[in-house]
C-alpha cells in the first residue's frame, strides 16, 4: 500500500463513519469505491475493526512492571540465603516471589518464598503469621505441600516449602471441563487435606485452583496452608479497622474474590465451613468450566455470592451426574448450616460418588440434607441487599485494599446494550417486568408466577404507551432463574426500570411482593406486598397486576417519564463515554479531571441533549481549578456554560441541579443559590451522594456546622467506600475546629485509597492544628507526591514552615510558587496563605485582592477556615469578603 492509497482509505473511512451503521453506510462505501473492489474491502474491514475496547485502552504497565521484576530476578538468582541456593523464579504473587532453590544441607529442591518487606516490618503481624505458619508446618499430609521452615536472614523473611512439580489446577481447568472421575479424585484429596488441617485447628481461607497443584501422576497438593491469614484474606475485618494503615503490598497482583464464601465476603468470622464452600466453587468450576459467580466487577461478583443462586450444574454440563451436582451444590450453599458441616462429612459422600462411578449404580449420599438441592434463592429486599452489599464491599476492601486502581475492573467498560435501540422514540422509557419468582418450593405455583408476569406486562403496556414501553414476554422470560444481576439484565434489555416480583405461597395464603427498581443503580423506588387466598388467586391475578401497574404508573408520571428519557442518551457510544468520564472524574486528580473533561465533552458532542454528560462536564470543569490549578477565569465560564446546557436539556435531574450548585458555590460565590440548588437536587434524588456532600461543604463554609456534619454523614452512608467522602468530611470537621475528627476522617480516606492525595492533604492540615508537625510534614510529602504538583500542597507546606518560624524555607517556598506561576497559573491564594503564615498581613491581603480579581476559587475558604482567624477583625479583610459577597458568613 502507498501513503496515497492510505489517504484515500482514510477519507472514505471517516466519511462512512458519519453515516449510521447498516444499509446506508454500506451503500455509501459501495458507491464511493466505484468498483474498486480492493478499496471497498479495505474500508469495510477497517470499519469492522473500529469499535469496542481493546488493549490500546490499557497502558502497557504490566509489562513495565514485569520488566522491573525480571531485572530483580537476575540480581537474586544465584544468591544464597542460609543453606538455600536460589536457582530461578517460579512465580510472582501478591505475597511475594517464589523461587526454586537448592537446599544444600539436605540436598533437595525447595520452593522458597520471599516475603515482601512490608509484611515483616510489622512485628506484631509477623509474630501472628509465624505462629500460624508454624502450626501449618506441623501438618504432614500427602496432599499438603509441606512447609519446611520459616525464617529470616539478612532482613529477608522467607518460607521454605516442598517443591511440587506439576501444574496448578487453574491451568488444567483452562483446558476444559474435567471428567467426573478426575473431579472426585481431586475433591477427595483436597477434602482429606482439609480434614487433617481442620482437626489441627488450621483453616486455609484461600482455597482456589491456583492454590492446588496437580502432579504429573494426578496427585493433588494444597499450597499455602497457614499463609492466607498473612495476605489479609483470612483477616476478620471490622468497620472500625479502617484507620489501620494497609500492610499488604500496594499494587500486588491480588487474587480473585470468586472463591470467597459469603461470610468471608462480609468480613465475618470464618470457620472450617468456609474452606468447604471454596472447595465447592472449585469443584463447580472443574465441572462447569466456569465459576459459579462471575461478573465484570468485584462488586457484581460479591453481589452474586451473597444473593444469587448459582446456575444449576446440570444446565451447564449435561455430563455431570445428579449426585455429583448435588454434592457440589451443597458445598456452596450460602448458609453455612446448609453446607457439609465438616470435610469428613463431604469426604464420606465423595467416597460414595467414587463407588457410583465404579459400579454405575446410583448410591445414597449420606451427607445430603433433604431439600438442600438447588433452588432459587430468596431475593432479599433491595434496600437491605444494598446495605449488606456495602458491608461486603467494605469487607472486601479491607482484604484487598492493595488492589491498584488500574487493576480494578473499570465500571462501564462496555457500551449500553443495543437491543431495540432503533425502534424507540427518544421520549419513551423502557421497563421490563422480570419473571415472577416462585419462592416456595412448590412447583404447582409456577404457572401462577408465569401468568402474573404476563398479566403485569399487559397491564403496564396499556398505561401510557406513548411514554412507557414495556419489554415483551419472550425477552424477559429468558431471565427466569437467571444468575445475572439486575444491572446486567437492565443493560441487556436496555431497560431503565425493572419490576422484580416474587410469590410465596403458604397453607392458606399467597403473598405477592413487587418492587420497582432503577436498573442503573438498583435503587428501589417502590415496593409492596399483596396477600390473597390461594383459591381466589386466579380471579385475583388481573386485579393484582393492575394494582401493581397503577402503582408503577404513579411513580412514573408522564412528566417524570419524559424527564427520565431525556436523562439518558440513546447513543450507546455517548453513554459509554459518560460512564468512563464519571469513573475518572471520581478520582479528583489533575490528570483524571482532565480526562473526565475529555470524555464528557466527547459524550456531549455525540448527543447535544445529553443532560447527564453536560452535568458531568460542568462538575469536571468546576473541579479543575481545585484539583488541577486551572485558571478559574477560563474554567468558570466553561463550567457555567456546561451547567446551563444541562439545565436546558433537563432541569429536573439531581445531577443537573447539583452541577448548578457547584458553579454557584465555587465560581459565582452565590452560596444561598448553591444551597437551594443542592437541596433541590436532594429532593429529586435523595440517594445522590454527591449532592449531600456538596451541601455539606457549602453549609460548613457558611458556618452551619451541625447540619454540614450530618449531610457529610449521609454522603458517607450512601457511598461508604469512596475516599473522597471521608477526605472532605475531614475538611468539614477541620472547618468546625474539630481537629481530632478531621485526623480520623483523613486517615479513613487514606485507608480506603492510599493513592488519593486529598486524604494526606487533609491529614497535614489537621496535624498542623494539633501541633503534630512532623506528622504533618510526613503527610505533606505523600500529598505532594500524589497530587501532581497541586499548589495547595506547596502553599500549605510554606504556611506550616512559616508558622514554625522556619522563615527562610517559607520564603523559598514563596519564591518557588512565584517561579512556577511564570509557567502556568498558580492561584494567588497559595501565596496569600504563605504570607499569612509569615505574619505579613498586608502582603497576604495584596495577594487576596489579586485572588479576588482572578476569581480564585480558593477564596471560598476565607469565611470559615481557621487559618484566617487572625484576619477576621481587619478592615481590609472584611472589605474583601464583602466585595466577594461572602461577608455574611463566618466560622459560626
Amino acid at each position: 500500500m502507498t501513503p496515497e492509497r492510505y489517504r484515500q482509505i482514510e477519507r472514505l473511512y471517516h466519511e462512512a463513519l458519519e453515516l449510521p451503521v447498516g444499509r446506508e453506510r454500506a451503500a455509501f462505501v459501495e458507491t464511493a469505491c466505484a468498483g474498486d473492489e480492493a478499496l471497498r474491502r479495505e474500508v469495510e474491514s477497517l470499519l469492522g475493526h473500529g469499535e469496542g475496547t481493546s488493549f490500546l485502552d490499557t497502558p502497557p504497565d504490566a509489562v513495565a512492571a514485569e520488566m522491573v521484576t525480571a531485572q530483580r530476578v537476575r540480581t537474586v538468582a544465584g544468591r544464597k540465603l542460609r543453606q538455600y541456593q536460589i536457582r530461578s523464579l517460579l512465580s510472582v504473587g501478591g505475597m511475594g516471589e517464589i523461587y526454586l532453590a537448592d537446599d544444600l544441607l539436605l540436598a533437595r529442591q525447595v520452593a522458597l518464598k520471599l516475603l515482601p518487606a512490608q509484611f515483616t516490618r510489622d512485628d506484631d503481624r509477623m509474630r501472628r503469621f509465624v505462629r500460624e505458619a508454624k502450626a501449618a508446618a506441623a501438618l504432614s499430609h500427602p496432599n499438603v505441600a509441606h512447609i519446611y521452615e520459616i525464617g529470616e536472614v539478612e532482613g529477608v523473611s522467607f518460607i521454605a516449602m516442598e517443591f511440587v512439580q506439576g501444574r496448578t489446577l487453574d491451568v488444567r481447568i483452562k483446558e476444559g471441563p474435567l471428567d467426573a472421575a478426575e473431579i472426585v479424585s481431586i475433591a477427595s484429596q483436597v477434602a482429606d487435606a482439609l480434614e487433617e488441617a481442620h482437626a489441627k485447628g488450621i483453616i486455609h481461607r484461600d482455597i482456589k485452583p491456583s492454590n492446588i497443584m496437580i502432579t504429573p501422576r494426578g496427585q493433588a497438593k494444597v499450597l499455602d496452608f497457614g499463609v492466607a491469614k498473612m495476605t489479609g484474606l483470612g483477616r476478620e475485618a471490622t468497620v472500625g479497622d479502617a484507620s489501620e494503615p494497609p500492610k499488604t503490598t500496594p499494587g500486588a497482583l491480588v487474587g480473585t474474590v470468586e472463591y470467597m464464601s459469603p461470610e468471608q465476603a462480609l468480613g465475618q468470622e470464618v470457620d472450617c465451613r468456609t474452606d468447604i464452600y471454596s472447595l465447592g466453587t472449585v469443584l463447580y468450576e472443574m465441572a462447569a468450566g466456569r465459576r459459579p459467580f462471575t461478573g465484570r466487577t468485584n462488586e457484581e461478583i460479591l453481589e452474586q455470592i451473597l444473593h444469587r443462586a448459582p446456575e444449576p450444574l446440570a444446565k451447564l454440563n449435561a455430563e455431570v451426574s445428579p449426585s455429583l451436582a448435588q454434592v457440589i451444590h451443597q458445598c456452596i450453599e450460602k448458609k453455612r448450616e446448609c453446607r457439609y458441616q465438616s470435610a469428613r462429612e463431604l469426604l464420606g459422600d465423595l467416597v460414595s460418588l467414587r463407588k457410583e462411578l465404579d459400579s454405575g449404580a446410583e448410591v445414597k449420599l449420606a451427607g445430603i440434607r433433604p431439600g438442600s438441592t438447588w433452588r432459587p434463592a430468596t431475593r432479599r429486599s433491595v434496600a437491605a441487599g444494598a446495605t449488606v452489599l456495602a458491608a461486603a464491599l467494605l469487607g472486601y476492601l479491607l482484604f484487598f485494599r492493595n488492589l491498584p486502581a488500574r487493576g480494578r475492573r473499570e465500571v462501564g467498560s462496555s457500551a449500553a446494550a443495543t437491543v431495540g435501540l432503533g425502534e424507540n422514540s427518544p421520549s419513551r422509557v423502557r421497563l421490563a417486568v422480570l419473571p415472577f419468582e416462585n419462592i416456595a418450593a412448590d412447583p404447582d405455583r409456577d404457572y401462577l408466577a408465569d401468568a402474573l408476569t404476563e398479566e403485569t406486562i399487559t397491564a403496564l403496556g396499556q398505561i401510557d404507551p406513548e411514554h412507557l414501553s414495556v419489554i415483551g414476554r419472550t425477552s424477559v422470560m429468558t431471565y427466569k432463574r437467571t444468575a445475572k444481576t439486575l444491572a446486567e439484565i437492565g443493560r441487556e434489555l436496555d431497560a431503565a426500570y425493572l419490576v422484580e416480583s416474587s410469590i410465596r405461597s403458604e397453607v392458606n395464603r399467597v403473598r405477592v411482593t413487587s418492587k420497582l427498581i432503577r436498573a442503573a443503580n438498583q435503587v428501589q423506588i417502590w415496593s409492596a406486598s399483596y396477600d390473597s387466598e390461594p383459591s381466589s388467586m386466579l380471579a385475583f391475578q388481573r386485579e393484582l397486576s393492575t394494582a401493581i401497574a397503577e402503582q408503577i404508573r404513579q411513580r412514573l408520571s408522564p412528566e417524570r417519564l419524559s424527564a427520565l428519557a431525556r436523562r439518558q442518551t440513546r447513543n450507546p457510544e455517548a453513554y459509554d463515554l459518560y460512564l468512563r468520564g464519571r469513573h475518572v472524574w471520581n478520582q479528583l486528580t489533575p490528570r483524571t479531571t482532565q480526562r473526565a473533561i475529555e470524555y464528557f465533552s466527547q459524550a456531549t458532542e455525540l448527543d447535544r441533549n445529553y443532560a447527564l454528560a453536560w452535568s458531568g462536564l460542568a462538575d469536571a470543569y468546576a473541579a479543575s481549578p481545585i484539583n488541577g490549578d486551572a485558571p478559574p477565569l477560563s474554567a468558570g465560564p466553561r463550567a457555567r456554560d456546561a451547567a446551563a446546557q444541562a439545565v436546558r436539556a433537563e432541569p429536573d435531574l439531581a445531577e443537573v441541579q447539583s452541577s448548578l450548585g457547584v458553579v454557584k458555590f465555587w465560581f459565582d460565590w452565590d452560596w444561598i443559590g448553591a444551597e437551594t440548588a443542592f437541596r433541590k437536587a436532594i429532593t429529586l434524588d435523595p440517594s445522590y451522594a454527591f449532592a449531600h456532600r456538596n451541601l455539606g461543604i457549602t453549609l460548613s463554609h457558611m458556618g452551619q456546622r451541625e447540619e454540614a456534619g450530618s449531610e457529610m454523614q449521609r454522603a458517607r452512608a450512601l457511598d461508604p467506600l469512596y475516599a473522597v467522602q471521608h477526605a472532605l468530611s475531614a475538611q468539614v470537621a477541620f472547618v468546625a475546629r474539630d481537629y481530632p475528627a478531621a485526623v480520623q476522617f483523613a486517615r479513613q480516606a487514606i485507608a480506603i485509597d492510599p493513592g488519593f492525595w486529598i486524604g494526606y492533604f487533609q491529614l497535614a492540615q489537621a496535624y498542623q492544628q494539633t501541633g503534630e508537625i512532623d506528622l504533618a510534614f510526613q503527610a505533606l510529602n505523600s500529598a505532594g507526591r500524589l497530587s501532581g504538583g497541586n499548589s495547595k500542597v506547596l502553599s500549605l507546606r510554606g504556611y506550616i514552615l512559616a508558622k514554625q518560624s522556619r522563615i527562610q524555607e517559607a520564603r523559598e517556598m514563596l519564591s518557588t510558587l512565584q517561579e512556577i506561576s511564570r509557567d502556568h497559573y498558580v492561584p494567588p491564594y497559595a501565596m496569600a496563605l504563605v504570607e499569612a503564615g509569615l505574619g505579613e498581613p498586608n502582603a497576604a491581603l495584596d495577594w487576596l485582592e489579586r485572588a479576588a480579581n482572578a476569581r480564585d476559587v480558593h477564596l471560598v475558604l476565607l469565611p470559615a477556615d481557621p487559618k484566617w482567624d487572625p484576619f477576621r477583625q481587619k478592615v481590609r479583610f472584611r472589605a474583601l469578603l464583602k466585595r466577594c459577597g461572602l461577608s455574611s458568613f463566618g466560622p459560626g
Binding site: 473500529g50 488493549f55 504497565d61 513495565a64 530476578v73 504473587g93 501444574r167 491451568v171
Partner: protein, 193 residues
C-alpha cells in the same frame, strides 16, 4: 527548589521550534533516564506490582527539566519524547523475552497465571510496535498519535498540542489507527492488500 532550565529544557524548546536535530540529542538523555529510573524502581517497587509508565515519564520530566510542577507545553512535548523512549524500552524487553522463550534461554519457569497474562501482553506489544512501524510509512501522524497516547499516556489535548493539530484531528487519527491496529493484530497477514 526550582532550578534554571537545563539542557533538556533548551532541547525541548529547540525541538518545538522545528529543530529536528534537537530531538536526536534529546532521545538518548530521556531514554537513559527512563531506564535508570526503572532500575531504581526495582528497589522500591514490590514484586508483581504495577509500574505506571506515565508515572515514570512524569518523574523523568521532573528530574530532567527540574520543574516541580507542570508547564503545559514543555511537559507535553517531553511526554512525547518519553513515549517514544518508553516504546523502545518496553518493546525491546518484550522482544528479548520472547526470543528467550523460543530459544529456551534463561526464561524462568512460570507457573503463575499472572505470568501468562504478561506473556500475552508482551506479544501484543511487539505486534503493536511492528504494526505501528508499518503504519508510520503510510500515515506517520496516526502512528505518532498512538505512540503518544498509548505509550506516553498523553491526553487528546496534549497530543494535539505536540502535533500542532486540533483535538478533533487527534480523535479521528486515533480512531482510524485503532481500527488499523485491531485489524493488524487480529488478522495478521490476511490483509487484503
Amino acid at each position: 527548589m526550582a532550578q534554571p532550565p537545563g539542557e533538556v529544557s533548551q532541547l525541548l524548546v529547540a525541538w518545538n521550534k522545528g529543530d529536528g536535530a534537537a530531538l536526536n540529542r534529546l532521545m538518548p538523555l530521556v531514554y537513559e533516564e527512563l531506564r535508570r529510573m526503572a532500575r531504581r524502581h526495582m528497589g522500591r517497587q514490590q514484586p508483581g506490582g504495577t509500574l505506571q509508565t506515565t508515572a515514570l515519564i512524569n518523574e523523568a520530566y521532573v528530574r530532567l527539566v527540574g520543574q516541580p510542577a507542570k508547564k503545559w507545553q514543555n511537559r507535553s512535548h517531553f511526554f512525547a519524547v518519553g513515549a517514544q523512549a518508553m516504546r523502545h524500552i518496553l518493546v525491546d524487553y518484550a522482544r528479548s523475552r520472547q526470543s528467550a522463550k523460543r530459544g529456551g534461554g534463561v526464561r524462568p519457569v512460570s507457573l503463575h497465571q499472572a505470568m501468562f497474562a504478561t506473556d500475552e501482553r508482551a506479544a501484543e506489544l511487539v505486534a503493536v510496535d511492528e504494526a505501528l512501524t508499518e503504519l508510520a510509512t503510510l500515515h506517520s501522524r496516526q502512528s505518532r498519535v498512538v505512540e503518544y497516547r498509548f505509550f506516553g499516556g498523553l491526553t487528546v489535548e496534549e497530543t494535539a498540542e505536540v502535533l500542532q493539530v486540533s483535538p478533533e484531528t487527534v480523535m479521528r487519527d486515533w480512531r482510524m489507527a485503532k481500527a488499523w491496529l485491531h485489524r493488524a493484530l487480529g488478522q495478521g497477514e490476511q490483509d487484503d492488500t
